[in-house]
Subunit: 397 residues, 4 copies
């Protein structure tokens, strides 16, 4: 692959950042508040715009309906606010877990009022999506149970299946539903969509525009994620990713911070699906979903975007012809060597070149740090919070 | 449920024991040989017959084609030998991993000769199944890769899918194909059928008589197996079980020896599918797959059969009406209490009653130990091996 | 063991409940609020007293200094309030994680002010412990790092070691320091006290009155907890337990709700240490640490106390003479059978007898439910919160 | 660090390869035999010599007493054979698991004959070590139990502790005992030395020349190995490593094939211990312990040696001054960035330079492949085996 081809590939790698990644989040034990954390949708869009301005690869922002859209506010204004910040609204993310009515679940709850509330919320999300020109409805469920016997597993399956079908029917043509899975947390005994297989079955039964969403942190230790990715691509059922990293559970750390080689292998699986097997991959939604407990929000996002680009680029450098030969010859050492060789390459200067050609600073992180942006928004936002008398915090017990 | 109903349910719980569970097996570090271990199909059938004679619930024996059927031998003789021992042949298990040609896999191998060998072997297995009146072809694959890049994951998927379709086509009407999954071992980077989702997709594409086989030890730690069981039953895709227990990986310990409550919950999931949701469950093949490194083979099998009966019986004692009420009221403590109450019951005397009514000794383990059977076969088999000059052993490196 | 001996053993099994187990807690995604949840130390002590009144085995309450003791309040009043509710103050638990200053840790933080704050807090805790006549300082640290390179692991080790030594020096004679370990959460890359080995080394270096605290949920999947318990007992270093259960990570579910056999084995390990090896076990602090997201607080605590008693009692029923014989004969089936037999026993009526002899209702859960207590405190506490204008809640992002 | 310093560091990185890594090994499901696999100690030493000739960093060979030393053979001849191949004998590894007498363990067995056999074997190993001028006795135990109740955990602890003390006493001055831990396999319920904490306690009680051996594959998923390494170094108790990689359990894959960043972090932890904290690290034994089921043995070993050098070198490139500054400033992004920057560097040409300066071919793998060595030993060894009538193989059941 020559340099132009590589750069064209890089151009096509667009990573959506989540509005909630700019806000204060934490663990059940509390939040460590950052003066510069975004508290309003305007601030979040400003931050997303900043990340895109420095990285050039994050043109879309995932929105979270509960946190980003007040009742009665015109969503098209949010769309315009995004544009003013140089970004567009990407996936629309409902919230089906925070309200007290969701104590026993949302779509899967035995409580019909909770299911109705979920229905209404989703209709509102679809409406907002239309208003902001988004074509992605991204569904994550906290649904599940905490104790054996708490609820009927099959009954819950039926409720979930029916809800997804209903919601699929409510989506306009051209809109895609992404169905995320997660094996545990916050439900600790079972979750209604525990693994990719359940997402797959639910998406199949929901309708032709439902796909599986792979969050890299939503697997048991040892699961081979790139295998799942390849399998879903071959089935035409991979919809997108939530990128993050983890050492243990769903730690929501920045991408590639713990196991960069695994991310590289995921990008390679996608490349192989496309180049070797002619499978469509252009529709894959690359989205970030991280919780920046400790790292500064904007810097953490820039770090993840840069890590994604580096690992993506390394995956493009694998010599596929050589790999095919080694695989055909069943030469494991050589075949693996193709991956190791590409991963060993230092692609940072190549990325600097791409950035300069695209009118960006060669090192987005240094450039951002040098820009004084963080100090400016810290001052502004602290002042605004103080003026508004906002005191954040919260206690575990 | 009254006593007659419970006993009718117990009558219907038939557990198939595996011929290889009576032979010497071990770990990669070696085998600890038992004088009484079975070495021939005749000895294995004798042992299976013994287990059934004492437990009354193990009327079938799974056979393993490579180890149990010599080339040129008439399989109907094996069928008759089984009958002479009071048992029938159950599932037929191909061996697609031991021959050197399977170094890179069988159905999934890049080596066409390996795939051809696998095809031939499967045809022979189907033929044997017909001869022994078995209607279950039970497929476990060691297929996979050990290193990133070793082979093309999608290509392997296609090979596997095609093989399963071909083999499904070769099965006579009335025969069912069971497709087992396993996340790792002996392949350590990826396995071609890694989880229930892959088994499901492969079985769906193979044909209408393919189902998923759940081995209780083939999951990552923390996976909710009863959830998978319920999900598959609702999809009409659960074919059967390989029973065993484990603390870590695929340890192949006797059933319920580590986590008996989990086994109870699996039996309850099946009962709920049938009684609450009207789903068919009578076809489920309950099979044992254990490796008795240290425990005496026949005793280990009796122990597992007894454990299965106890945990099954406890699951039948759950008060479903009360459970439904608590679930509808979203009363977690009461709902869980229904399970805990049933599990807390001591069902051993009830089982003794069932056994006595069925003409069995009340305590199969004591009765077996008192019978002197073990000492007798030890003497016989040691003598036979010595006469034949057989020396077993093996070294890791 | 005869009935009187068993009952004497039951008398000695005292389980400390935590004040925070009566308050609203949740996951990072939010809290589901309960009208009856305790909000003040008075309410928590009332609830703990209620649990003890119904179970007869929970005479002590663990207190949490940050949440239970306001600056300037006389702790001896809290002691009296406990007594009025029929309980005593048990372990004193500092909070070294909620304050913003602990962003990078407490005793292990690179920030000297955080370490100083931790020192002051601990001195205050020791002072409170003296005032409430507690002899247990129970230390859990959220300390650790989230990313590779974030801090120097050895430097942090030295800081932690020095802090523990200092604090040990500040404890009066007769006070014991318990050092808890946890492999992850809320720190996701490393925790300063990650496993029992680190607790052991830290406790050894802190001084002669430091011991290891085992939280049953603070282990990786597959860890053999009873082995750690036996090992620590033999080393004279086991201080106590935090009881709870989990399916995946530190889920903080009620004891024995997921794997009751594992709890039974822990109790058996303690019994064997004492009866076979003559090791002291009377000092072991049995404490509950659960998070009742969904279950009613008082009922969840009663459930755990009852589960602990049942599993403890089963462990006392193991026939040790028979077990010794089987172990000496290396008869695995019989040896394991001793455990299985005891576990299979239904001990609920025996427990009812014990309760009636001790003047308790035979079934604490039913009795509590029948008492109308829950409805009464719900009404009271809702009214009090409304009067005070308290609105709880909180949002993840 | 300048180039000379880096090269001096590389000179000091010596990796011991294991004799058994050149022989046919496999999984419990069988071995895939390689024509070139070594079958005798002479062939193993020849192969180890070949690896050292091409890599320049593997001057020592670990020997395995059972497999490498026949009764009655003079061990000094083996020493000379090693020298003829350009290598020296490194650690001496007893075998305490293969003989049938070890069915219930070796040092921990309830069978006094097994313990006596283990004692004799160890004395023989120490004697051999003296003869071959080795100063490392490297102990791995398969000891443990498969079922709850099988044996008394504390009794086994005492037996193990006493054996290690005895053996320590039998070692000559200047010999070090390495105590390895492993959480499971081949024992599946508990292992007598399950984690680093147990190794630590046993080594402490054995005597001043006992240290902990860290096998990178002997941890539960998610364990932070570099933290353990740092902790042990600070305690003066790290003895050495068994290098390999894994995705799931103890897969024994080639180093860095699954998670190279983790290996880099281990090397960095060692560097920090030495350069920042002045802790001794020169004594650390870097040893390989892999099972090359599928990869050619010599190539797999060369691959691991090269991977170790690359990841070691990257760890030396971390800018420690910058890292200290960022850590002191609690700037997580920058601190982590120091690690990421060094890991992103392509160090292969630097390694080529080092090799050429040391008179080696720049790419050991290509050079080895071009040498025709593999074809030659294949021919020789096949012929030898045929002449001797050796037929290898083995069956799981």
């Amino acid at each position: 692959m020559d340099r132009d081809q590589l750069f064209a590939k890089l151009d096509a790698l667009q990573i959506e950042t989540p509005s909630w990644g700019y806000a204060d989040t934490g663990t059940r034990f509390g939040k460590f508040l950052q003066p510069a954390a975004a508290a309003t949708i305007e601030e979040k869009l400003e931050d997303a715009g900043t990340v895109h301005r420095f990285t050039g690869c994050c043109p879309r922002v995932a929105v979270h309906v509960l946190w980003d859209f007040q009742e009665g506010v015109d969503a098209t204004e949010t769309k315009r606010a995004a544009e003013l910040n140089g970004v567009r609204i990407g996936s629309v993310n409902p919230n089906l877990f925070q309200d007290q009515i969701y104590k026993f679940g949302s779509a899967g709850s035995p409580n019909p009022e909770a299911r109705q509330e979920a229905d209404s919320h989703i209709l509102r999300c679809i409406d907002i999506a239309k208003q902001v020109d988004s074509d992605l409805l991204s569904l994550w469920f906290a649904d599940g149970t905490n104790y054996p016997g708490q609820d009927d597993l099959i009954e819950r399956k039926h409720r979930m299946r029916n809800a997804l079908s209903r919601w699929h029917g409510a989506m306009p043509e051209g809109m895609t539903m992404l169905v995320e899975y997660k094996p545990f947390e916050p439900a600790f005994y079972h979750t209604d969509i525990a693994d990719w297989g359940m997402s797959y079955v639910f998406a199949k039964s929901a309708g032709p525009r439902a796909r599986v969403l792979v969050d890299t942190g939503h697997h048991f230790q040892g699961v081979n994620i790139e295998h799942i990715v390849a399998f879903l691509l071959d089935e035409g059922m991979l919809g997108g990713f939530h990128f993050n990293d983890r050492k243990y559970a769903d730690d929501d750390l920045t991408l590639g911070s713990i196991d960069p080689y695994a991310v590289f292998r995921i990008f390679l699986a996608i490349r192989l699906a496309e180049e070797r097997h002619g499978l469509p991959t252009g529709h894959i939604a690359y989205m970030v979903d991280q919780s920046h407990n400790l790292k500064p929000k904007i810097e953490a996002m820039i770090q993840t975007a840069m890590a994604a680009q580096e690992l993506f680029l390394k995956a493009q450098l694998v010599d596929l012809a050589k790999l095919s030969g080694a695989q055909a010859a069943m030469d494991i050492v050589d075949a693996e060597g193709c991956l190791k060789d590409a991963f060993a390459r230092d692609v940072r200067s190549l990325l600097c070149d791409w950035r300069e050609l695209r009118g960006l600073q060669p090192d987005p992180m240094s450039a951002y740090r040098a820009s004084g942006h963080l100090a400016r928004i810290e001052a502004e936002r602290v002042a605004r919070r103080e003026a508004a008398g906002v005191v954040a915090g919260g206690s575990y017990a």
